[in-house]
Amino acid sequence: MTAPGLLTALLYGCVLAAAVSSGNAEAAAPWNLQPAASRLAADIHDLHEWVMILVTVIFVGVFGFMFWAVYAHRKSVGHKAAHFHENTTVEIIWTVIPLIILVVIAWPVTKTVIAQKDTSNADITIKVTGYQWKWGYDYIKGEGEGISFISTLSTPRDQIEGRAPKGEHYLLEVDNELVVPIGKKVRVLTTAADVIHSWWVPVFGAKQDAIPGFIRDIWFKADKTGTFRSQCAELCGKDHGFMPVVVRVVSAEDYTKWVAEQKKLAAASADDPNKSYTLDELKARGEKVYAANCVACHQATGKGAPPAFPPLDGSKVVNGPKNDQIALELNGKPGTAMAAFDKQLNDVELAAVITFTRNAWGNKTGEAIQPSEVKALRK
């Protein structure tokens, strides 16, 4: 049969063609776990490597034997079949030996599992909240306590839809990166506001599902500085593929500096919910809030993506009584993707985005919603 030879050539041809045609990926395609940036990840690496060696040996052993058996006992060379069909001794042996191998594997793994679960004595605690489709970070204990921000994909739509060349960190870049100091034990508490997400940083060996209504925890301790990138790892709806996790590990001094900066920034831009804003102020601010929070579903044009995501342009709610819309934005609509924004946005932001939607595209209510009105409707 010449088929195998022909086919092997075909296979190599295809591989070559694929390699040549992928112009973007000049660097060698990655084929193993990402280089570790924490002790835990390094341990996982070692475990994986070790188990791979072990199973490769077994694999080669078993199939080496099989191919030899197949080759030696071909009918075409006139081999006559033997008639044995049982041998208790070998059957016991090949049940027991794998069991022993399994125990040998289980031992070091168990130690890593226990270490992985030990979230005590953390230096910094950060709460991570998964939203459709962005991450909220709240520093709740340790240096930086009180810092809080939302982290959203910053890759432009044009790159995704092929109207612009893709950047180096395509789909792995965000507006606000999570910043942590090197060498400090960071405890991460995950939760979610809508559906299950999964917060994942491979280089730390850290992955934890974020479950709505529940708090779960993991920890990591970075031993390298740098920016580490990954993605949400649990299907969470339409834009699951577009909610990266980006962590920047910095030195202790840089971290202190960063914390001070954040505090200053927060103080400067603190919104005053008791102030009264003009229509134009609200619209300008609202447009930004809209771009950051609403476009994923309702689109920049306000046309939405019916039937799943209704248009806001011309919507009855947006052009109806304002309190209904405020309530909707605050509480979301349970059972649909329309999320509650009461925790993600403050009164000023909500007032702004509502004002914006009521005065954008074809909507012309002319109303300016004030933060105090939003505050009044908060539960």
Binding site: P4, T8, S22, N32, F63, H83, W200, L235, K238
Partner: protein, 529 residues
Amino acid sequence: MSAVIDSHGQAHDHHGGGYGGIMRWITTTNHKDIGTLYLWFSFIMFMTGGAMAMVIRAELFEPGLQFVNPDFFNQLTTMHGLIMVFGAIMPAFVGFANWQIPMMIGAPDMAFARMNNWSFWLLPFAASMLMLSFFMPGGAPGVGWTLYAPLTVQMGMGMDLTIFAIHLLGMSSIMGSINIITTILNMRAPGMTLMRMPLFCWTWLITAYMLLAAMPVFAGAVTMTLTDRHFGTSFFNAAGGGDPVLYQHIFWFFGHPEVYIIALPAFGVISQVIPAFSRKPLFGYASMVYATSAIAILSFMVWAHHMYTVGMPVTGQLFFMYATMLIAAPTGVKVFNWVATMWRGSLSFETPMLFACGFLFLFTLGGFTGLVLALVPVDIQLQDTYYVVAHFHYVMVAGALFSAFAGIYFWLPKWTGRMYDETLGKWHFWLSMIFFNMIFFVQHFLGLAGMPRRIPDYPLMFETWNKISSIGAFGFGLTQLLFLYIVLKAIRSGEKAPQRPWEGADSIDWTMIPTPAPYHTFETPPVIK
């Protein structure tokens, strides 16, 4: 397969009062007819699910969104998974069971011949419901075949149709299992003791029990999803005291046994094919039976290995890890027994045997990646990445699907009385083998390097492997058209098959029944000595 119709039209009439034309197929109570229906249905579903995979692979050919929007991509992934598992693979093996079990144990038909008809005729309706969901407002559910709450609560009407489809599929499986269990326990010919049955019957007996225990639980899980969606219950909603993770526990209590429900009948087919082409009895028959039972029992105790990242207590993680690792032992016994069967046999490599060897090789590879995934810390890195996708396609495509191919080639002569084209069969095997590895081997690398599954677009570093994988997928898909051609050609103009085309095949379906098998066999029980 239609040859059966031609040569046995009259034979059929002797029962009197039958129906003709299309009504014959709709009303039939004959296990062979029903087996044929199952097999064709399964093939159509394989095409449908495969076509969806082709779109998925086309979209993933390069970074960026090209063909489908993310919502639709998720719908395709979900339906690809559901259709392949419930529409293609499971019905294929029920088809084999229908054709073969009565002939292998010397029974006149299945124990409940009419219920058998209903088991089948629920499937096309369930499948239509799955497909209809694409046309509902909001489209088909885009939640993954695992249907995790609470994402399911956000879906449109398609979700409800999918839930009802699962109810129908569940009914079908439960009735089918009851039928198989009863047939095997009550319909064996005198002298056909349990431990003399061909191993295929054993694997199906055990699989049927697993279905009975697992399917109703899945039905319960989707029912709770339905009431959470529409009747204000809070099973999976924290605000009401429920828990999204509860859904996962219930789902995987079904879902893990489900993957062995797919694997065990495949093991059964392989256990018929390998001895036949080794011209030597199956090695370690008894230990095969025990190993299969052990796998079945263990498989109900390992479900949470799909949930290492939900944040279980460490004791839970360790328990499920150890239990999962244990399954490697009985599975290993099976692999070793198959290899020992070949050893010192007199081997020839017709297409069924090639697929069986391909199965053995690649399934074991998939088993080993399963073992890697079983290790909690390693799985933390790999959970929900393409490594998992690679793992399960190795066990389900190279495992179950390849063994289904082996079964078709092996039994086609018995069913139709005609031989398939051996040269084309070999081409089918080699092309499948090569393209299969091209699709899925590289996905291990993608997973290790950190590519999540269920995404329509990906970072640039994953491009090369995805290209290779997509090219492989198109090749694999086209190869399956060759398979269709081979089967049709065999049915229409294949050479006449001898009574026993495979020298080494010695179960009673080969030795006591003419080839092609007449419409009715063993109307009076044969005596097995």
